[in-house]
């Protein structure tokens, strides 16, 4: 994934990062609820240079039947990257990385959705990464929450996600691609603000216990910024001039 500058300065003397952001500043985030005609719910997110579309179906019949559960509905998530989403063309078949990300996103969303209200059904979340630039899983999870809400599926809260990390010995918010490649740590966090629950947490890299605490705090701050934008996206669709396409 590009940008292999040997001269790359991750943090300059004024505390400005390689893409011009401050230490605690997220990238530009734009979330739009709806947009797809056939999906029951959908959302589009631009998170820095990430561009991700999410479509949701359900609750609907489960195929194959043996997957259905008589006590609760089930959630299925597919995270997939387009061949043209990254610098080197990606093989369209799902990679081990995509399968793992599908699973962590599924497990991050499950606590938010009241699946027990819909036994024997499935909710399908399809995530398609059109362009990737570091932090896709967080952007995808945030958009998936909006798409689920757009589909009218009962939820305890939306999951907002943002990464924090460490580059140039400093804890930073929202790790971009260059910082992910050249930095010291990357910690994606998924968080439900109104219930104060972390539902996604991963870490690559080394942090001291103090740094770890600061990193989680920083990440949650980022999640809260994302959460406001998620609510704004839904408000714009459902409360602005009654325009609902």
């Amino acid at each position: 994934m590009g940008g292999r500058d040997t001269e790359l300065v991750l943090l300059d003397e004024n505390g400005i990062r390689c893409d011009g952001r401050k230490v605690d500043e997220p990238r530009r985030i734009m979330i739009k609820a709806g947009g797809l005609k056939n999906a029951d719910g959908s959302a589009y997110i631009e998170f820095g240079d990430n561009k991700i579309l999410v479509g949701v179906f359900g609750p609907r019949d489960v195929h194959p039947k043996h997957m259905s559960n008589t006590d609760t509905g089930i959630l299925r998530v597919r995270y997939h990257m387009e061949p043209f989403s990254v610098t080197e063309r990606k093989n369209p078949a799902p990679s081990r990385r995509e399968i793992e990300i599908s699973k962590v996103i599924k497990e991050a969303l499950e606590p938010a959705i009241m699946l027990d209200k819909f036994p024997r059904t499935a909710v399908d979340v399809y995530i398609e990464v059109l362009q990737a630039d570091g932090g896709t899983r967080c952007a995808a999870l945030s958009a998936a929450s909006v798409a689920l809400a757009d589909a009218g599926i009962p939820m305890r809260d939306m999951v907002a996600a943002c990464a924090a990390g460490k580059a140039a010995d400093t804890i930073i918010l929202d790790v971009n691609n260059e910082e992910d490649q050249a930095g010291q740590a990357d910690m994606p966090i998924g968080y439900m603000p109104s219930t104060d629950k972390i539902t996604l947490l991963q870490l690559d890299g080394v942090l001291t216990p103090e740094e770890f605490k600061k990193c989680v705090e920083t990440g949650i701050k980022g999640c809260k910024i994302v959460y406001e934008l998620q609510k704004k996206a839904l408000t714009e669709k459902y409360f602005a001039n009654g325009d609902s396409k």
Partner: protein
């Protein structure tokens, strides 16, 4: 394509009845395609891209250009490969996993239209003969479905190719090496435009929407180039066309194709 959506007999009957009166369900003329919206360079990281909406069918195409080995019998030509995939949120019936026959046909018809028109001058995409050539990959993903994916994908791929810039490579120690900063326009010889028509009763309609798609007995996709020549054709569906109908379809494809080509040129700012 994906002949899955349940369309009840009443709707089919209504579509046919309207056609008998010279009308279509959405009010279009028989030879009128739906509104075409082209957004070039939707994916800045790709070498070329476009997001195309034809009515309510929507496709994103991204072009990736990278060195590759030539096909054994074509060492003096670059490689062009076009694919198509239905994303699972494009329609409730679409399932993940390997593509079915419908989707494979879609990808191959779109690929053939562009390949057979010789849109890209592949002879200019050779790094070293028989060893290394430039590969152009146009990957179409269907985002929303409302009939006629053949044309939606074809227009997306064509627009994405027109928007493409290709990097340059040279052979260094038998390895193709990128020349930093060198960028060329992709060598274009013509602009292929496909026009898909459906047959319902004895009526030929251009660019069938989702409901019409499910009602038709047969379809035909004809690709024409900038000179108004026909360069690829595919008939599908379990009905048939008479000779006169095929000739009529050819004429329609040239005429409708020309207006769509003008639109592509205007949006993409190309002369050819």
């Amino acid at each position: 394509m994906t002949s899955v959506s349940v369309i009840d007999e009443l709707k089919k009957f209504q579509i046919l009845e309207l056609l008998e009166q010279g009308k279509r369900v959405d009010g279009r003329a028989f030879d009128e395609p739906r509104k075409l919206v082209i957004e070039p360079n939707a994916i800045p990281k790709a070498n070329g891209s476009a997001r195309v909406r034809l009515g309510d069918s929507e496709v994103i195409c991204g072009v990736k250009i990278q060195p590759d080995r030539p096909f054994p019998d074509m060492g003096d030509k670059g490689i062009f490969i076009c694919t198509a995939e239905l994303l699972p949120f494009s329609h409730p019936s679409v399932e993940t996993g390997p593509p079915g026959p419908d989707v494979i046909e879609l990808a191959r018809v779109v690929d053939r239209g562009i390949r057979e028109s010789h849109m890209i001058d592949l002879s200019q995409l050779v790094i070293e003969k028989n060893k290394s050539v430039v590969g152009v990959f146009a990957d179409n993903v269907v985002v929303d479905y409302d009939g006629n994916l053949f044309d939606t994908c074809a227009y997306a791929a064509t627009a994405a190719i027109l928007s493409s810039k290709t990097p340059k490579w040279e052979m260094k120690n038998d390895v193709p090496t990128l020349i930093e900063g060198a960028e060329l326009n992709i060598p274009i010889t013509t602009i292929p435009v496909s026009v898909t028509m459906g047959k319902i009763g004895n009526h030929i309609i251009v660019d069938p929407n989702g409901d019409e798609w499910d009602s038709m007995e047969a379809r035909i996709t004809i690709t024409t180039d900038s000179n108004g020549n026909i360069c690829a054709l595919q008939k599908g569906g379990n009905g048939g066309f008479t000779f006169d109908e095929v000739i009529q379809c050819g004429k329609i494809s040239v005429k409708v194709g020309a207006t769509i080509r003008e639109k592509l040129k205007q949006v993409m700012g190309t002369k050819k």
